[in-house]
Amino acid sequence: MDSGEEKATTFLSRAASSLPPPHAIRDLLSHGVCVRCIFRLFGVSEYDDSCPLLKASTLLSLLEEQRNIPNAISENGSIANDLTQCPYDPHASGNEQPYCSVCLGILQFTNGHDQDLRTCESNSVSVLTSAITEILKKEAHQIDGFSIEISLPPVVSANDRAIWLYMKGRYASEEWFIGKLLSQQISVKDALRSLVTTSLESCLGVKSSSSSFRIRLTYIHEEASSKLQCSMQKFHGFKRRKTETNCKERMVDDLCGKNETISGEFHRCDSDAVVHCTLNAMQDDAFSELFMLPPEKTNNGCKLTISCYRLPVYIGGRYLKFSRRVSQSRWMIEDERMGEASVEVRMLGSGRPFLVEVSNARVMPSMVNIQEIADKINNSNDKYVTVRNLKLVGSEAWNLLREGEAEKQKQYAAVVWISRPLTEVDFNKISSIKNLDILQKTPVRVLHRRSPMDRKKIIHWMMVDKIVGTSQHFLLHLCTQAGTYIKEFVHGDLGRTHPSLGSILGCRAEILQLDVTDVKMDCFD
């Protein structure tokens, strides 16, 4: 015996009390159940995958040996190894089923080539692990943890139940079966997850955790899934048969029976969630009517798609904008397309909050990285933009930002001209305004793309900063409700904003320049 077999023997002697007797195992093998599935159907886990997986033949011979040992404590009863009962002979050719009838090849880790699964010793999970590692390398991911997501077709759990009901039907009276429960089964998903996790952890040197890096394994088996859908239709049909004329359903059943592809019109495809729900609610007898017990053998395995990606990374902060696309000769009437766009607004003061979403980042940025980004922006030669408080934030930042937009106040500084000199009375009138209600019709300049409506807004306060050397120009500081149209408040927009600065002062007012000096949000401060 080599060391592999030694390990296997040790393992088996521990597992023997859970495993069924050899004649039952032969039976399962003859129905195309793979060795890993046999282990997990009886709750045997922790098979150390560093040893090559037992071939069916080895498994059988080891088990039979164990039972022949006179002092073996076997609670599995004394059913004679009635080899004639079970047709399975692992050494005979022509008896083989390449893909497991229960897990559909998922736990058999083929490497994609048509290899002989019965004899292949290395259908080890390392096949899958290598494929994943390849992808990680190819897509240049750097990770310090991972989280595995597995998606299996519902037919696999239907198969688990089918094989169980088959065994119950056949072995319920045998002593070894009494006390065994469906709930002791390890699901394909759990078995796969633990195999892959252990293997990946040792291969990549990082731990599985609730990480933002996802490795998604999606298994699809079209043939088995469409057969399942047929059964689902039949089941729905049974339920409706009492109440409806059902030529449609019968038509579907006929088609199902012939295994033809069903046109979209007649075939109502249930989603995976609905299928799971329906199956869970189904009683054993209904299930047994619809499904083959044990599950049918299959010639195809599942198709696996591996995708590796990082959940979005969010970087938030505040930015300041120092340029405006304005020329000295702005007041000459230029090409009409220049229009309003030329009075562009700078963002000064504490800056405006912003959020950047990075999809599928190859590396998780650290605080140091973020600081480097901020420094690079702020030290660049063209100082059009600077950022403040740049940092990593969670996905809730989106909601914070959205809420803030609608509710918060903003502060502006506008260069204003009026049609007569500013007086002390004007000055005081402006400074004494507190929380003034104004009504703004949608400004003409945006009316082509916004709804026509009246907007109530509040001017919280205003302050005049006189400009030396001019009596009709001044700097107006104002703090308003978010969403207020400042330019229209100054010039009145043909009377569609009321009151306006002009109507308050009793003269014509024009806006020459506008800057945002503060965006009062509790965001990225």
């Binding site: 020329s327 009316l447 006189k466 050397g469 043909l494 020459l512 800057d515």
Partner: protein, 192 residues
């Protein structure tokens, strides 16, 4: 001229708090009016110096918002002599239509005394356009009647002058027909 103290209640310390200007700052340093290639300030600069323009660069009489943002067209003697109207067209394609200062109605004693949007077929002031897609906007030809303009002795029909969809009617004219006579603090007496 006194420089005011910053009477602002701003949270914690924002750059604006540094607006407490001492008397010597009254003579503004020659900060040039921001040009297209603006740069960020060095650490020592005030937010204020960024904001304040140099008086020398400010236009003495800037053009009005209408002159800046609209192209002003005039329809003279539209369908009848002396019936002069304006069409102010915004870059986004929307048009504001009104009585030109040379319109014959404005030459009468007392000018315009009443405006009635009921032009027989329908009352223009009753239309309601909703939504971004501007549903219910009635399609008008250039000779479609907009409203009746009454003076002390006469009335005149104002026309659309352009082909398009009516978005909004200036119903302020119903209560304040005088808006058509003089531009009131920028509140122009336009029809629609």
């Amino acid at each position: 001229m006194e420089m005011p103290k910053a009477e602002l209640s701003t949270p914690s310390s924002t750059p604006l708090a540094s607006l407490q200007i001492k008397k010597e700052d009254e003579t503004l340093k020659a900060v040039s009016f921001p040009s297209a290639g603006d740069r960020a300030p060095n650490h020592g600069d005030d937010l204020r110096s960024l904001l304040l323009p140099d008086a020398h660069h400010l236009p003495v009489t800037p053009p009005s918002a209408i002159e800046t943002n609209f192209t002003c067209y005039f329809a003279l003697d539209f369908l009848k002599p002396g019936h002069d109207q304006y069409v102010y067209r915004h870059a986004n394609g929307l048009c504001v239509i009104g009585l030109a200062p040379t319109h014959v109605a404005l030459k009468e004693e007392g000018g315009v005394v009443r405006v009635d949007f009921n032009v027989g077929k329908s009352d223009r002031s009753e239309m309601k356009v909703t939504g971004k897609r501007k549903r219910n906007a009635k399609h008008f030809e250039s000779n479609t009647a907009l409203c009746k303009v009454f003076t002390n002795g006469n009335f005149f029909l104002a026309r659309c002058c352009v082909k398009g969809s009516l978005l909004e009617v200036n119903d302020r004219l119903i209560k304040q027909p005088d808006l058509l006579n003089t531009s009131f603090f920028g509140d122009k007496g336009y029809f629609c």
